[in-house]
Symmetry: C2
């Protein structure tokens, strides 16, 4: 094995996802280095506040310490939010650094600009973690399924809302289920982005772009959240052997693409109906492969970190 | 788009899978050529008997017409069976041709020799279609999940047996269900390879090799088929909220890998329990990503062809 090349990595943001990525690169370093036949080294992390648990010169609050460092091969963006994340990613790409991100909001909002910049500078921008966390659905769409014309996608793309709907199915009210989700760490103090479908709309925008080769901005997608779903709705669905899920959907019919994120009644015989609690799933149909479903954890430090490190490995193999 | 490079392809065997592959390359030629930015051309096919529906010089019964043709970039092996398929693949690799195959028996039996030959000659051997047909599970294991130490895999890897067990669940006897499967084209006249788990053992051997970096030959895997499963077994499982599935399993515990293909009782709360009829599914656990499941069609001309053409596209992109 030639381990002379050291792949140098910087992480922007050492919160949940950045911390998970760092942990995987540390804990599974041996197996990762064996798989890529190169050494890896996380040399720098951007964080607003100092983190005494890391070496003193590892954390910086100055993005230029990372952008100006010519040794850094890959910048991993885990800040979240559209800005300053997009600006930092663009600058990193312009300086010839590959970028890996889990940031659905930034990728959905600025897809064209980000891709054009990475193309122009001959570097990669990968974002498997941005949609459905640890589930490798973007890689599947971009590679082994490329023989297909895609016909339809239906996704349970947000774990918080799926957890709440599952608990309502079990008899809790919306308010009780939301509180339960907040207590378990599945929902944030301000749950708007999740419960109103904003997070799911960002992910659906990315899926549509990859599957149908057509950029649809998040704000163009019809969006209804789950905050108006009542126990009566749930019971009514149940009596018809159906369950209510927040579905991100895009369907191509007679050459016309339609899309929405909204609560839908799903037959109990549909593969998505059994996807409960905080799990995510993506169901899709291609003209050749037929029906496919991918199921797993759509959030959390380690599942999301798994997808990020998968992208790092994919880039590292080419260095 | 630079479409000057023409990727030249030969198909060995124009049966179900070879015919499906040819159909996809023909029907979806435009979208495939756009995605790879190259033209594709299926120039030759090996078939024992003439096929009047194709151009006269397209079909040959002489493998050397393909091996000696220096213009052919990719050989697609759809003959099935260990020989002469393995010999043909080795010869094609030795002549610098990339090989794509759906042949689980040949890959499982001769994994090391095939991989060594492709490595030695700097060409690719890809076999996504060999395990779980159209479900892109091998690509997932080999790429986006590479950050993980794998802990467990459980697969419903054979559609024939899953169809029979589903029908038994609905009240048919084993004999009735087998006849039904044969009538629908899901089971062959001699169903031994399916119902006795031989097909599933080949697929599990390949999965183990990729996930645990350890070659386990098919004949080393404990194997029990479904021909001894009775209606009483099914009812007994049902009364305990379980269902019987033919499971290919490999589990790593305390550093020790155990593996088997046999009928298992699966709790109705397990994601695999709802995988019915001719569908396949692969459930796996990684130390970072947690639980994942992939679901779809494990056989048939077009789902299998989708995976084969996915591999062709992946190679064509690098040419």
């Amino acid at each position: 094995m030639n381990k002379e090349k050291v792949v140098k990595i910087a992480i922007l943001g050492m919160g949940t996802v950045g911390g998970g990525t760092y942990k995987i690169l540390k804990d599974n370093r041996n197996i990762i280095e064996n798989r890529i036949c190169k050494k890896i080294d996380v040399v720098k992390a951007l964080n607003r506040s100092p983190r005494p648990e890391y070496a003193e010169d590892f954390i910086t609050d100055n993005i230029d310490d990372i952008l100006d460092n010519e040794e850094i091969d890959i910048v991993v963006e885990c800040l979240g939010g559209i800005e300053p994340a997009t600006t930092y990613m663009i600058k990193a790409l312009e300086r010839g650094k590959h970028v890996v991100t889990a940031n659905k909001a930034a990728v959905a909002a600025n897809y064209k600009k980000l891709m054009e910049t990475s193309d122009k500078h001959g570097v990669k921008l990968l974002f498997e973690a941005a949609v459905a966390g640890g589930i490798p659905v973007l890689t599947a769409i971009n590679n082994p399924l490329q023989a297909n014309n895609f016909i339809e996608i239906m996704g349970i793309l947000n774990g918080t809302t799926n957890y709440i709907l599952t608990k309502m199915q079990e008899g809790q009210s919306y308010e009780e289920a939301l509180k339960d989700a907040q207590k378990k760490g599945f929902a944030e103090a301000d749950p708007t982005a999740d419960v109103e479908g904003i997070d799911a709309v960002n992910k659906l925008s990315i899926l549509i772009t990859l599957m149908f080769d057509k950029y649809v901005a998040p704000e163009e997608i019809e969006r209804v959240g789950i905050s108006k779903v009542t126990i009566e709705d749930i019971l009514d669905a149940k009596s018809a052997s159906e369950t209510i899920k927040l579905i991100g959907r895009a369907t191509l019919r007679d050459g016309k693409l339609s899309y929405s994120v909204k609560p839908e009644r799903i037959s109990l015989s549909h593969p998505l109906s059994g996807v409960d609690n905080e799990f995510n799933a993506v169901y899709l149909r291609g003209d050749m492969v037929g029906e496919l479903m991918f199921y797993g954890k759509g959030a959390g430090a380690l599942p999301t970190g798994s997808a990020i490190v998968g992208d790092i490995i994919s880039i590292a193999k080419t260095l």
